[in-house]
């Protein structure tokens, strides 16, 4: 382990906390790469980032289960509430209420079925996922259900990738042994910030155009 890290830990900071804080900018950069180089979009950078850490906290399987329950019950509720003319904030509050009940039901059901891991999930990651519903609903309203669903799927893909990085031992060792690599991220992000090349996805999107370009 690097000397700096050893020093921080000796001051009483938990090693997991140090690791997660240092991992944060790495995962953020990963999301930037997904967006600028590959072309996988998501709900901004914050949503996939916290979701990746929430997945880490409760495990991917249960994390996905809760996230899907949140999205589905939230969307269903939105359509149900459309009939009533309500202001935005009260409406979101109602959606949150219903989601809370749904999550509670899910946890109880999990306990009943003997899935102790899910039933004893800590509250913070669940809270994070519930708050994401607002972002999801506002996207639904602004860009339509089709785009919102696509964006959710892509967000889940990016967050899962982030999750696998966080639990990867070599990644953990790399960060704890060489925290100075974090400086490298600044350079990488400056390069990414000036990257004007096509995103990988755009090669597929524009395949017909590319086919039509003359060979010379």
């Amino acid at each position: 382990m690097s000397e700096i890290i050893n020093f921080i830990i000796s001051q009483g900071v938990d090693v997991d906390t140090v690791y997660l804080i240092l991992a944060l900018p790495f995962i953020a950069t990963l999301i930037v790469i997904f967006r600028q180089i590959i072309g996988v979009k998501s709900f901004g950078i914050y949503t996939p980032l916290v979701l990746a850490f929430a997945f880490w906290a409760i495990g991917l399987k249960y994390g996905l289960a809760i996230f899907v329950v949140v999205l589905v019950s939230g969307t269903a509720m939105r359509y149900f509430l459309k009939k009533f003319r309500l202001l935005y904030l009260p409406r979101i509050a109602i959606v949150l209420t219903v989601i809370s009940i749904a999550i509670l039901g899910l946890l109880t059901l999990a306990g009943y079925l003997g899935k102790i891991g899910l039933a004893s999930t800590s509250i913070l990651p669940i809270l994070i996922m519930i708050t994401l519903i607002e972002k999801f609903i506002s996207t639904q309203v602004e860009k339509g259900i089709r785009t919102a669903t696509l964006l959710s799927i892509e967000t889940i893909i990016i967050s899962s990738a982030g999750y696998y990085f966080i639990i990867w031992d070599s990644f953990r060792n790399l960060i704890l042994n060489h925290p100075e690599y974090i400086i490298l991220l600044l350079v990488i992000n400056i390069i990414l910030g000036r990257w004007t090349g096509l995103r990988l996805r755009e090669y597929f999107r524009f395949k017909d155009v590319i086919k039509h370009v003359d060979n010379n």
């Binding site: 003319r85 506002s138 309203v141 096509l198 090669y203 155009v209 039509h212």
Partner: protein
């Protein structure tokens, strides 16, 4: 793989659009102005650029309470001021007897429904970043005849991208059933690439996939000639000068009476236009960068020279007339009555129409064939069997029956014969008539029907005499009376105008 990368060098991607073009060319103030529809409309109007009229602006609940609904016309468009991508726009195209309106989605709107929708707009549902917004009512553009068969309920518009005062690429956007009558591509509208020199459509794209025919009307999408093309390009360039957006997408619709009208200007024009044109945009932007452009016509000339297809329209430019060869591919438009059930959409808020509405829609279909251009003939004629195929069977049979026992000789005139068949043959409206044709073969008495024919992209109403041409090479002859808008060049090779 390497060739793919090399070939894609001229493509404009999202990264490059944002960083290389929008960032340096479009200053914040100009973008803010473009995003504010009412303000940009005012700016264009003050600079004598045609825009749709505004019927009323609703800024707050008070305005909404005091709004005089009775003053609204039968058709109008309701828009959020800061909306993007067509969201939140309601196109109202008719009013029912009970004073409720009908939108292009097939939904019925009462005053209460419109109020609710405006409340949503106030709350910022459709605005760019969810901030509160205002709503306004605007004139609904009346669709021009040429584009009508291609549009599902809504209004087609033309997106022109202008950079450095040169119109670099253009696209015709058609509303479809899927897009609920809106022309926006991400809602399922169709984009047609346009040859910028001629204003004729080339390729078509829907949801980023190339298509050949309109999914609703099944009409072929290439070869559509856009009217007022030069004027459209001029207006687009003027919009750039006035709005101060260096990289601009101008949306222009064509009104039946007013001609080209600017719907809105965009600071963040989408990239699908490259697929519709099957041409890379960055390559074109790089070509016009740094050229000193004197005025609109210089900009248009540069675009035509650099990005147009082959130039063969010199004569047409001068005389204003299309040039036809001896043999031309033509389209005959005919009407087909179509009974359609429209189900109300479950997605929409507000009062739904419970029963499916049955609407009789008269659809236009097109028949494509080769015709002989015959300046020796006065009247155009069409083969009897073909005319029957086009839906005129009943009237042709009735006419044939009526003249069965009538004697026709060189002394017969149209008046005498018309009188004789009067009891057995009722003319069906203004489009139907009869004619006497005298030739070396003798005298014949024929039925004529006015048909809409598209010749080299121009639609003409042509009186067609019905006759048996089944053993002749061409089922249709176009005579002098239909050729007033054209010049005929016997050396011009027959080519298909459909781009096939």
């Amino acid at each position: 793989m390497l060739t793919t990368i090399r070939k894609s060098k001229g493509l404009l991607g999202m990264n490059s659009r944002n960083l290389t073009y929008i960032r340096p060319s479009n200053l914040k103030n100009a973008i803010r102005l473009a995003d504010n529809k009412l303000r940009s409309k005012e700016l264009l109007f003050n600079n004598e650029i045609p825009v749709p009229k505004v019927f009323g602006v609703v800024r707050n609940r008070k305005d909404l309470e005091l709004f005089k609904w009775a003053d609204l016309p039968k058709s109008f468009v309701l828009k959020p001021n800061h909306g993007r991508g067509g969201e939140g726009i309601k196109i109202i195209f008719g009013q029912k007897k009970d004073k409720s309106w009908v939108s292009t989605e097939g939904r019925r709107f009462t005053i209460k429904d419109l109020q609710n929708h405006i409340m949503d707009i106030f709350e910022g549902f459709y605005s760019l970043s969810g901030v509160s917004d205002i709503a306004f009512f605007e004139e609904r553009i009346q669709i021009s005849k040429i584009l009508k068969p291609y549009a599902y309920k809504g209004i087609p518009d033309i997106r022109v991208i202008v950079y450095n005062n040169v119109p670099v690429m253009a696209m015709l956007r058609l509303p479809t059933k899927e897009s609920e009558g809106k022309a926006n591509l991400h809602l399922g509208g169709i984009g047609l690439g346009i040859d910028i020199a001629k204003g004729v459509s080339t390729h078509a794209v829907q949801r980023d996939q190339l298509i050949e025919k309109h999914p609703d009307s099944k009409l072929k999408l290439s070869g559509i000639r856009i009217p007022y093309w030069r004027k459209i390009l001029e207006i687009a360039i003027q919009c750039q000068q006035v709005s101060k957006l260096g990289y601009i997408g101008v949306d222009i619709a064509i009104d039946k009476e007013r001609g080209p009208v600017v719907l809105e200007v965009n600071a963040h024009s989408g990239l699908s236009i490259q697929i519709a044109n099957l041409a890379p945009l960055k390559y074109r932007l790089q070509k016009v960068q740094g050229i000193k452009v004197q005025d609109e016509s210089h900009g248009i000339r540069i675009a035509q020279d650099l990005f147009g297809g082959e130039i063969e329209e010199e004569i047409e430019e001068i005389s204003g007339k299309q040039v036809l060869g001896i043999i031309e591919a033509i389209k005959i438009r005919h009407k087909v009555e179509d009974v359609e059930e429209t189900h109300p959409l479950p997605l929409s808020r507000g009062e739904l129409i419970e029963k499916p509405e049955i609407t009789k829609e008269v659809k236009q279909e097109e028949k494509e064939l080769k015709a002989k251009i015959d300046t020796g003939a006065d009247l155009s004629s069409i083969d009897k069997n073909l005319a029957k195929e086009l839906g005129y069977e009943e009237i042709i049979n009735e006419f044939d029956k009526a003249i069965e026992n009538i004697e026709i000789d060189s002394a017969s005139t149209k008046e005498i014969l018309d009188e004789k068949i009067k009891d057995n043959f009722a003319k069906w409206g203004d489009d139907v008539d009869t004619v006497i044709i005298k030739s070396s073969h003798g005298v014949s008495y024929r039925l004529t029907i006015n048909m809409n024919i598209v010749l080299s992209g121009v639609e003409v109403v042509s009186k067609m005499s019905i006759t048996d041409r089944s053993n002749l090479e061409f089922p249709v002859i176009i005579g002098r009376r239909s050729l007033g808008k054209f010049l005929v060049d016997p050396s011009k090779k027959a080519k298909t105008v459909f781009g096939a």
